[in-house]
């Protein structure tokens, strides 16, 4: 079909992927009203990024695991053990901060390869492998830390998660550098959206009407620039946000544009068909689990740097937050469906909710109930949509 798609068709066809963005905006607005604007203050927006960055990093890896039709229950324990290894080297043995970082990453690679081996080559379901991993790596954390917390980390290590890029270009109460970076980001996004549109038209695929396309771009640009403005008015550009942005862009490309990414979707969509199409299923599964291990160690570094300590109980329940983020973000329990951006927005929904409720002074108990309900409703919405689409 050539020509342009109208708004209604666009909405119905894309409800499953765009519904999540609408829900996100609704939740942001809701908490802005409930907290009388506090949740949107520059300081809080900055805090939000710092506080939930490691969940978002985990969600990036987790969504690939889920697309491939697996699950990873061990990431919380991996966060703890990688942070612990790094702390033992940097704090106890006075090694430079980067040794800790490299050791944590190496630790993540080994753990990812270990779990990938069992899942991909021995054929143990990921649920079991990572359940075992969850216990083992928690135990190893206690062993490595000798059951006590280690702190504090030296300044450069802390800066990974708590540092800012500020004042590089000066400014009057706001950081120009932050705004410039965000500006470049928005222009880059608009350019790539434009290129996609042009090439889709060239290949006679249906695209949204031009005014709608522009409206969408402007809306996204406005939201992103507002976000940048809030950051610029606070402490500048958080280092961890740069890390997160790089990861999101890189993994979005990996999942959508590379052979590896496409094979991950193929395995999750129909394992047998993928196998009979020449996909090296074992190596892809191994790669997915390996990658999860690496990203979990990155999250471990960020988390230990932010909390300025390695604790035996670090990362507890992180796996559930990361999994919830993926499912809220539209990933399918059966595999084959999901997007990195979806998982990020899913994670942000959880983040905004937790943060907003904390600002309102809602007790932990109620927060847990609300988060659980949101997860349930998000998946229910997904199931309902699928049933409606599959009613024929």
């Amino acid at each position: 079909m050539t020509g342009t798609a109208n708004i209604r068709e666009l909405l119905t066809r894309n409800l499953r992927t765009s519904g999540i963005y609408i829900a996100f905006l609704a939740i942001v607005v809701l908490f802005a009203i409930l907290t009388e604007g506090t949740s949107l203050s520059p300081a809080n927006v900055t805090n939000l990024v710092l506080q939930y960055s490691y969940i978002l990093i985990l969600a990036i890896g987790m969504v690939m695991v889920i697309i491939a039709g697996h699950i990873d229950l061990s990431v919380g324990s991996v966060v703890a053990v990688t942070g612990a290894v790094s702390a033992v080297l940097v704090i106890k043995n006075d090694m430079p901060w980067w040794v800790g970082v490299l050791a944590a990453l190496a630790c993540g690679i080994v753990i990812g390869a270990w779990q990938g081996f069992w899942v991909a080559f021995v054929g143990i379901p990921a649920f079991i492998t990572t359940l075992a991993g969850m216990l083992m790596f928690r135990g190893l954390t206690l062993l490595v830390l000798n059951n006590v917390s280690l702190s504090p980390f030296p300044e450069p290590y802390r800066n990974i998660a708590a540092g800012f890029q500020n004042g590089l270009l000066g400014g009057n109460g706001y950081d120009v550098f932050t705004l410039v970076i965000f500006g470049i980001g928005v222009v880059g996004y608009a350019f790539s959206a434009w290129r996609t549109r042009v090439s889709r038209i060239a290949y006679e695929q249906s695209v949204e009407a031009f005014p709608l396309f522009i409206a969408k771009l402007v809306a996204i640009a406005a939201v992103v620039m507002w976000f940048g403005w809030q950051l610029a008015n606070a402490r500048g550009l958080p280092n961890v946000l740069i890390l997160l942005a790089v990861l999101v862009i890189a993994y979005s490309l990996v999942t959508t544009r590379t052979v590896f990414g496409r094979h991950v979707y193929a395995i999750g969509g129909n394992l047998s068909a993928a196998m009979l199409s020449g996909v090296k299923v074992r190596w892809i599964n191994f790669g997915v689990m390996l990658n999860m291990g690496i990203l979990a160690s990155v999250a471990g570094i960020v988390f230990s740097a932010r909390s300025n300590a390695a604790q035996p109980a670090a990362g507890n329940m992180f796996e559930l937050d990361a999994i919830a983020a993926c499912f809220i973000g539209g990933a399918a329990v059966t595999g084959g469906v999901g997007r990195v951006t979806g998982a990020i927005v899913g994670g942000l929904i959880m983040a905004v909710m937790s943060n907003g409720m904390q600002l309102m002074g809602v007790p932990q108990s109620v927060q847990a109930v609300v988060k659980g309900l949101v997860l349930l409703l998000a998946v229910a919405f997904d199931v309902y949509n699928k049933r409606r689409a599959g009613a024929r």
Partner: protein, 519 residues
């Protein structure tokens, strides 16, 4: 005037954007076997879903008059309580439960205190099994039985619900000739002995002719006509005309036979069962296929046809595989699917939904799935080129889809099969093994598939067709190998082949073959 057990009047069913049925009329006489014919997507299954309450009252227009009363079914139990039972194309049995448990699933035989009375359950199940001519222990798990027997268990299940109107959606599509014959005989018996009325959807016109009293033809959501079948000559051609709206003078397109040098040869290929040690599935099979040639492999289900093909295709089936494989005269060692593809081999599976396609992915990505390496540079896929390729195949293979971004699961069977073939043609295979390439697809699409096969061999490829429909093999192949119990029992040029001759070879026991070899 015979009594109508069922009248469906002016049934119209609209899905968002599609009118699946429009003013469809169906009248079924009590005690008859009524066929329903139509191309895939004509609306046959939708009509039956309206009848059985899958689409509840209120979601369609028109009236269902059953037993002289207008019915308002809201769910399947509603229609079953009136004795209307539907058996779907995909069997709905639970593999790990026993035969008896499956028969009474949702309709359990209870004793005191609401607990299941197992003696009564198994006793009644045994009686039902006798009625459908099955000699099985009711406590056997269903997954230990073949597809043919499972189909009979579905019928036993229907009988346990006091069925009066039995609806079968392509009951024989997965059965071999023996099992099909048995099933059809059973339907005849149910009709004469118990007065059960049946509605049968089928693509197999010889079955319709053999068993039905009357048949209704549906095309594009409209009733074309209802005709008497029993004892009518030339009825199949008339049905085909009605289904496709045109004359199909020849069901198999003709082609020039230009046969070149040998492309692919298999010698002494033996395969053992993957889980049952010592059970040989393919026994010393040898065959070859030449450039521009279509070779058939004929065998009943369970003869090892699919197993042979899959073991050749990157050892995707079986264990302890021995034998040699030659491509272009050179021996090749194919250890996995990707090396099979690189050597120019392709295998289009008989079960495209389970093994052939990623149903939740779009047309474009299914076409490129086996040859992403052609679209990729250093691991990065060229998405624009991919769309271009998909569009080319949409045009050249006549895949009917609004866009190549359409999810494959939404396409009809024939179009799905064209996507599968596109995928393998795009992989640049020289030798294509097509396992039941026209299963479950309608007459018009079958013709298109045969045309595609002709185009392939004209371009110098070699095609191996595995099929249980002998007329299809006789109509398309140059040579036919017969396979029986894992052994290649014969090689027949198509000019000398007849259905009877092939059937004899296909049912030849291994012992006779051994004797021949020794003699």
């Amino acid at each position: 005037m015979p009594k109508h057990i069922l009248e469906m009047r002016k049934i119209t069913k609209v899905f968002p954007g599609v009118k699946a049925l429009s003013d469809v009329e169906l009248e079924v006489i009590e005690g008859e076997i009524h066929g329903i014919c139509g191309e895939n997507g004509a609306g046959k299954s939708t009509l039956m879903k309206v009848l059985s309450g899958v689409y509840p009252y209120g979601t369609y227009e028109g009236d269902i008059v059953y037993d002289g009363e207008v019915q308002k079914f809201h769910s399947i139990p509603d229609s079953e309580s009136k004795g209307i039972v539907i058996i779907h194309q995909e069997l709905a049995l639970i593999p790990y439960l026993s035969v008896a448990e499956n028969i009474f699933l949702g309709n359990e035989r209870r004793g005191a205190g609401g607990m299941i009375d197992w003696n009564l359950t198994n006793h009644e199940a045994a009686k039902l099994l006798t009625m459908v001519g099955l000699d099985e222990n009711p406590t056997t798990p269903v997954n230990q039985l073949g597809v043919g027997k499972q189909q009979l268990i579905e019928i036993a299940k229907a009988l346990s619900k006091d069925v009066r109107l039995l609806i079968l959606d392509e009951p024989t599509s997965a059965l071999n000739d023996d099992d099909s014959e048995h099933l059809l005989q059973l339907l005849r018996n149910l009709k004469t002995e118990q007065g059960i009325t049946s509605i049968m959807i089928s693509h197999k016109l010889n079955e319709i002719q053999e068993i039905c009293d009357r048949t209704t033809i549906i095309r594009d959501g409209h009733t074309i006509e209802t005709i008497d079948v029993a004892g009518q000559a030339g009825i199949q051609d008339r049905i085909i005309r009605g289904m496709v709206g045109r004359d199909l003078t020849n069901r198999y397109p003709s082609r020039e036979h230009v046969i070149g040098e040998e492309l692919f040869r298999v010698e002494d290929w033996s395969v053992y069962h993957p889980t049952q040690p010592g059970r040989i599935v393919v026994d010393n099979a040898s065959f070859n296929v030449r450039k521009g040639e279509v070779v058939g492999i004929a065998g009943v289900m369970g003869a090892g046809r699919t197993e042979l093909a899959m073991s050749l295709f990157g050892r995707s089936y079986g264990r302890d595989i021995t034998g040699r494989m030659y491509m272009h005269g050179e021996e090749v060692n194919v250890t996995d699917v990707s090396s099979a593809i690189k050597h120019g081999l392709a295998y289009a599976t008989e079960d495209r939904k389970r093994y052939g396609l990623n149903l939740i992915e779009d047309v474009r990505r299914n076409i490129s799935a086996a040859a992403l390496f052609k679209l990729a540079k250093r691991g990065w896929v060229d998405g624009n080129k991919e769309i271009k390729v998909a569009e080319e195949y949409r045009a050249s293979m006549n895949i009917k889809t609004p866009t190549v971004m359409q999810t494959v699961g939404n396409l009809s069977g024939g179009n799905q099969q064209k996507v599968v073939l596109s995928k393998w043609i795009y992989s640049d295979a020289d030798v294509l093994i097509l396992d039941e390439p026209t299963r479950g697809i309608d007459v018009g699409a079958k013709y298109e598939i045969y045309t595609i096969i002709n185009r392939l061999v004209a371009a110098g490829k070699a095609v191996i067709i595995i099929s249980s429909e002998l007329p299809e093999l006789l109509g398309t192949c140059d040579r036919i190998y017969t396979l029986a119990f894992g052994v290649v029992t014969g090689e027949v040029p198509v000019a000398e082949a007849t259905q009877e001759k092939l059937m004899t070879l296909m049912t030849q026991e291994k012992a006779t073959k051994d004797k021949e070899v020794r003699a």
